[in-house]
Amino acid sequence: MGSPEIDLFFNNAYEQTFSAVSRYVASHASRFQDAEDIIQNVYTRFYKRLCDKGCDDIESAEAFLINIAKFECRTFLSSFIKRRDRVKNMSEFSEEESAALDAELSRDEPLLEDIMSNKILAKQIFDDIVRNDETVGQIFYLHFVCDMKLDEVAKRLGLNLSTVKNKLYRTIERQKKKYEI
């Protein structure tokens, strides 16, 4: 569909911006489960635009893509108005448990690099996170990838902070035993 020049531009832009665009969409999409489809549309629209009008006027592909992402995030809403039940953040998660969680996450473990290299195992661990409880996947992505604080994640997902912490903590503990990590 596009010329070699356009394809090259798109390929480079895709590699350079995918992470940033994914984070933006994941943290801004009305429903986390729509994020992948939105990202899809962002890049599809981007590619079509390149084919139609070229790339000469695009100074920053990332800025351009984020702009499209803003549009697509609004466009892709399926049902955005609902009653918002604000729940006071009353953490039942003890300070001790919070400290233990922080310590666990900060602990260096050389084995982890090997696991990342083992794509089959890494995919199994990923599937273990997202398979049983979709919310857990959202919590992991928003917290670790989008660098959102847990109270921000709780607000974003409409959950109690304690619930978010518990889901995170329990998943990590489960994986610790299951995969010895």
Partner: protein, 718 residues
Amino acid sequence: MNKRDFYKELMSEYQFDKDKIFANAKKGKFAKRSPMPIYIGATAVAAAAVVGVGTFMFTSLGGGKGVDLLTGSTIAALSNKERIERAIEDIRKNENSGELHDVMVTFRVPLSPSEAQRVLTEKAQANVPVKMLYFSDGSRVVGAQAVGKVFEKGKGEITGAVINCAGYLMEQLHNSSEVFTVEVLTAEDDLNVVAPINTSDPEIDNLPVVDIGGDVSIDTSGEPSVPVNPDSESTDGSDVSDSSDVSDGSDSEENSGESTDTSEGTVPSADVMPEGVTLPENIGGMQYVTKPISAKDAFFLNDDCFFVINSYGAAIYEFNGRSENLVSSIECEKPRIDWIAEDGSEMLVSAEAEGRRSRLFYVNTSNRLFTELDVDGVVMSGEISDVVYNKASGMLVINVLENGQYYTCTSIFDGNTAEYVAVAYYSGDAQVTVLAADAEYVYVCVMRENYTEIVKADANTSSDGFVIFSEESSCAVTPNLAGTYAAVVLNSGSYIFDPVTETMLGVPASGVVSFGASTNGFSCGGGYYTISDGRITAASGLEIVGKIDWKNSFSTKYQAKAVDECVKITESSYSRKNTQQGLLFNSPYENASEEIRAVVNKAIGLQNAIATNRVSASGIVDAETLAKAMKSIYSQKAAEQLKTRCSISGIELSYENGGLKTINVSDTVLTITSNNGKTAAGVLYIKAGTFDGKIGYHTVNVNLVNTGAQWKLDGIIE
């Protein structure tokens, strides 16, 4: 590597299928969006009606589109392969277009009439006008009636059909397993020649599978650009209708002195008010002040509760006539009422959070609760510029400003649930204000430097819309709260934009247009008007004034005003009495002599005392004093009338209020219209309240007689 980094990398790597997204993007494939409203406009239905049997009239509104791929060739001139290629391009071009086209649908295999009907209508979820049917034996049926008979009888094998549909439906139809191709027809195509594609053509089998993408996406025309930027009562007591003379003999002597004949040269003595009597000429009205509640603005939503904007947000209080009671509240910054129902029963209130207008609340007076609507997904990191809600159609438009760009987002809201629809309009380089909205369109004012356009945008899809008015001028826009009309001030003049007729109606008078909460009324230059069928008509009556003066009109009992962080509650101007009786809004003038004014004031005072059971408190300690007081004010006839009316005893101090209403002298203006020295007549204007800034008056005819010694009132004031 620690676990934090591990999970970061793991989730980054596997959360989204990077390769699939890449491949799909290059194929031009859009992801499906779950609920996408599908509308078949009335225009399409009308189009079908003009097609007569045997005569095919092209009514395609988009005849120019979709024919450019193969040098504008007609379908008949193309090979099957070329037609398929062009069909795919047609679908791509119209994937989100609301424009109507005549479309040729070719079925993969011949279908029965019922199957064909199902395929053609199920995707549209409505009636699609079918103009022509093609049969496997080469015959064809033309026209709505003939087509209808085929579907009724259910005979024949249908290979294709010509329908009239919106562009975006083409893709939906194409995605049906029974449909082979969907092609746009143009005025150049002769339907006596063209036919559905022959699906048994061997050439077709050699065609590569072409992926035309997912369901519905957004027209690229909406693509964001790089940020480069409100009588006389003959009450008149005056209906001193000659009530039967029920004078008691005790008054006979004194009554003689009441002759109006002063020609005999004897000067009658004046009847004076007994000493020690002080009549309550001003009673005052109901007034209540709440405890300090940090109130900045307040008004009654109905007879029982009032809404307050305070230092912390907003609140709803109940009022029982004696005390207030907080019912519900929200904490928010700078709440702003964006929409209120004509009767005050519902509201939409936006508010700021951390300096950014990003919150939206729905207020329902019936349950007296605030419900926050989750609009994070629409506002994102922008802010709400304006909110327009047309309750009749349910269309809620939230115009969002983010980084200098406007996103005009539509949804259908019924007070309980809302379904997001689309970014109906997008602008990256202009100021956009929503003028009005209905079920199908959003009308926006687009301002670029010194150039103004009014654009009609499809509320259900994203598009550039149609420019329906433009002027080289700056612009000031004031939409009404109901989302039905907007005042537009341009260099060429002041107008009201009417979305029903899509015209700019000249404002009938100079001055600021004020809509209030009215859906079809406004005030301007001191006059009131309504709009209907594109015409502005002068109007009057408290009903229309009340909708414009909405903050004072939702309660028939009270009105509220924020004073020194408290809410001062007084009687409503829009009481049932005021709304049921005629009021006068002119400017009366006081011309009564001091003597006449004094006797009228005394009459008001005495009537107030009787009405409020304050006769004794006024210094009238016995029946005799009351009789003397009455005699000093009223003629014999009027005095008898009052006695009868209020069951005033001549023996002991005993009376009833007789249904008399209190009047404040300070709220009256007395205009004498005739005075011959023996009798006088005039009008007493009694202030009824303030309506949209204007004072309204009840009027009472006043008649007086001169006894020769003094003026007396010749009737009860009511």
